[in-house]
C-alpha cells in the first residue's frame, strides 16, 4: 500500500576538529514511508540534526564527513549522486523547514521574492508567474492578505507568520519528503498549535513523508506515526508512537518519559536521568548510555548492543538495549 520513501542505512558522520574527531552520527538506520510522519527525538548533540543535514546534502564538509552508509531516496543512493544531480533533488523532491525562521530567511529580500525564487530556479518561471505562485503559496499557508503582503520583508512578520513562510517555501514544489527541524521550538504554545496543525494538514493533503526532528515529547505524541529515539549518534529505540509511550523498551526512552512534568498531574519529585550526555569525542565503550543507566550490567560496558527486534508489545519495534525485555516489563 505504502512505499518506502527514504531509507537511511548505517550512516556514520564525523567532524574533524582541532581537538579531535567528534563522532556525531554512529550508524543511524531509519526509514520513512510515503505519507508517514517519523519523529526523530533526541537531546542536543544526539546527532538528530546532523543526520537530517546529511540526508538533505547540506552538511558542512569539511569539517563534517560522511564516512560510511547509504541514503536511499526512492531506491537511489543519494550519496552516489553528483552535486549537480543532488541539487535537482533538493527543494524539488525533498525540502527542509528550519527552526529559526528569522535567520533562515534573507532579511534584504521580500518574502515574495524568496518564495518566487523556487519557481524561477527550478521551474524556469517568469518573474510575473513566480509572484503569482508566491501569493498562492502564502494563501495556502493562511497568511491573511497574501496579495498585499507579498512585497513585505521577513522582519515585518510575526514569528508564527515567518514559520508559515518557511513552510510555504518548503512546500512550493510539492516535494515527496519534508524534513522539519524543530519547526515550532521558537514559537509560543498557541502559535505552535496553529503551525503544527497546518503542517499536518498539508502533509495529509499532499501525502508527503515528514521527518519531524524535535526534543518535545508532547509534540511527538500529538503528530507522529513512528518515533526514532537518538542518543550519542545512534538510534536507541524505534517504534510506533502508541507502543513506545505505553511501554518503552530502552532505559533512555523510559527515563525521558518519566522526567517530564505532566500538565494533568502534580508529582512531587521528578525522575531525573543522572549525569550528562557523553562527549562525542569520547563516547563510552559498550552502550553509550551505560554510565547514566540504572540497569547497566558488565556486558553494557563492553559490548555495543545491536538493534534487537522487540517481539513482545507490538510489531515493528527495535531497541538497542541488552536488557530490553527487563526494561519492557519493569
Amino acid at each position: 500500500m505504502t512505499d518506502v520513501l527514504l531509507e537511511v542505512r548505517d550512516l556514520h558522520v564525523e567532524f574533524r576538529t582541532r581537538d579531535g574527531v567528534a563522532k556525531a552520527v554512529n550508524g543511524v538506520t531509519y526509514s520513512v514511508d510515503e505519507g508517514e510522519t517519523l519523529a526523530v527525538l533526541g537531546e542536543s548533540g544526539s546527532g538528530k540534526s546532523v543526520t537530517a543535514q546529511a540526508v538533505m546534502g547540506i552538511l558542512d564538509t569539511p569539517p563534517g564527513k560522511i564516512t560510511s552508509g547509504e541514503i536511499l531516496f526512492k531506491g537511489q543512493d543519494l550519496l552516489k549522486f553528483k552535486e549537480e544531480e543532488r541539487r535537482k533533488v533538493r527543494g524539488a523532491q525533498m525540502a527542509m523547514i528550519f527552526q529559526d525562521a528569522l535567520s533562515s530567511l534573507n532579511p534584504v529580500l521580500s518574502v515574495g521574492a524568496q518564495l518566487g525564487e523556487m519557481f524561477t530556479v527550478h521551474r524556469g518561471a517568469s518573474r510575473k508567474e513566480a509572484k503569482a505562485k508566491a501569493i498562492e503559496l502564502m494563501d495556502r499557508v493562511r497568511i491573511p492578505g497574501a496579495a498585499s503582503r507579498v512585497g513585505d520583508y521577513p522582519h515585518q512578520f510575526s514569528g508564527g507568520m515567518r514559520q508559515r513562510i518557511m513552510i510555504a517555501m518548503a512546500l512550493a514544489l510539492e516535494p515527496a519528503l519534508i524534513i522539519a527541524d524543530e519547526p515550532t521550538t521558537a514559537l509560543d504554545v498557541t502559535v505552535q498549535a496553529q503551525v503544527m496543525d497546518l503542517l499536518a494538514e498539508l502533509q495529509r493533503e499532499l501525502n508527503m513523508g515528514l521527518i519531524l526532528i524535535t526534543h518535545d515529547l508532547g509534540v511527538v505524541a500529538d503528530v507522529a506515526d513512528r518515533i526514532a529515539v537518538m542518543y550519542a549518534g545512534r538510534i536507541v529505540e524505534s517504534a510506533p508512537v502508541h507502543d513506545i509511550y505505553k511501554a518503552p523498551a530502552h532505559p533512555y526512552t523510559k527515563g525521558l518519559l518519566e522526567s517530564i512534568p505532566r500538565l494533568d498531574q502534580k508529582g512531587r519529585e521528578l525522575y531525573a536521568i543522572k549525569g550528562l550526555p557523553p562527549n562525542l569525542m569520547n563516547i563510552p565503550p559498550g552502550c553509550a548510555f551505560n554510565p547514566r543507566c540504572p540497569m547497566a550490567q558488565d556486558v553494557c560496558r563492553t559490548d555495543v548492543p545491536p538493534l534487537y527486534e522487540v517481539t513482545e508489545a507490538g510489531a515493528d519495534r527495535v531497541s538497542a538495549c541488552h536488557f530490553w525485555r527487563e526494561c519492557l516489563n519493569g
Partner: protein, 371 residues
Amino acid sequence: MAERKNGAVAEHLNAPAGEPILQVRGLVKHYPLTQGILFRKQVGAVKAVDGVDFDLGAGETLGIVGESGCGKSTVAKMLVNLERPTAGEIRYKGDDITKLSGRALKAVRRNIQMVFQDPYTSLNPRMTVGDIIGEPYEIHPEVAPKGDRRRQVQDLLDVVGLNPEYINRYPHQFSGGQRQRIGIARGLALRPEIIVADEPVSALDVSVQAQVINLMDRLQTEFALSYVFIAHDLSIVRHISDRVGVMYLGRIVETGRDAEIYDHPTHPYTQALLSAVPVPDPEAREHRERIILFGDVPSPANIPSGCRFRTRCWKAAERCAMEVPLLAVPAEFRYEAGPAAHDSACHFAEEKQVVPQEPVEPPGEPTDGSA
C-alpha cells in the same frame, strides 16, 4: 468580598496562609515611544505591564505563565529592582521597595535575588566560578567576612550539586545544566528569602531540566525560600507552583491554586493555552478538544479597548469592547466553594475542562475560535 477593585487577593481563599512576604499592587511599566530628535515628544507607550496584583506567601511558589511579550519578564525585573515601575507598589514585608533608595534599598535587594534564563550569557566568561558566586559578597560584605568567602562559595557549590573543587574553573568548562546550577548558587549566596526565577530551565535539555527542577525543589525546603517562577512551559509551572497566575498582554487574567487553574480554568485564554499544550500521551490525541486561537497577540503599544483578549476570543461580545473585566471571582461562581471559584478576568467566565483527565472523557463538541 465587595471591595475587590484593587485585585485584593488577600481576603480570598486563594491567598497564601500567613502574612504575605511580597505584595504587588497595581504594578505598571510603560516604555515611552517618542518622536523627533531635538524636540522629543511622547507619541505613545509600550504597555509592557499594565496593572498587575499578586501576593507571595512565605515558603510559597507562585508560577507566572504567559506567552512571549506578555510582560512576565518585566514583572520579574521590577521585583528585583532592575526596572523602576511606572506606577504601583511592591511591598516587601510592608515596605514599598519602589520608594526606597540608598541603604534601605540595598538591604531589601539582598533578600530578593534573581536566577536568569540563559546560563550562557548570564555568567561572565572572564570570571571564575568562585568569583561569580562570590561577587555578591563584594556588595554585601556583612554576609560573609572576607576570609570566609572561599569556604562559603565551596559550600554553595556543594549545595547545588557541583564539585567544590571546580571553584577556579571558568563558565565555558561547564555544561548548560551545570551553568544553571552556578546561576542558582549565585542567587543563594546572600541567603535571600525570595528568588525570582525567569525561565530558569527553558534553555536546558529534557533530562537536565528535571535535575534542575528537583534541585530548586530541594533548596526551597532547605533554605525556606519563596519562589516567583516565571516560565512559558505550563507543565513545569504546574509541577513547581502552589499558585499560578496567567498573564496576557501585561495583565494577570486568571489566578488560583494549581488545580483550580489547570483542572478548572474559567478564563478563555487559559483554556486555549492549556488546550494547546501537547500532552505526551498519543492515546489522548483523538479525545482532546483543542482550542486553536486565531492570529497573534496584539501589540502592547496598541492594546484593545475593554478586555484585552477580545480580539482573539471566541466568546467576545459587545460588552467586552466596552468594559474592562476585573480580576475577581466571577459572579456565577461567587457563592460556590468549588474549585471554579477563583479569580478570573472575564465577563463570560465558564468552567471548562481542557486538560485530559484520567479516565479520558468522551470527546466534546469541536471548538474552533472562529465563532
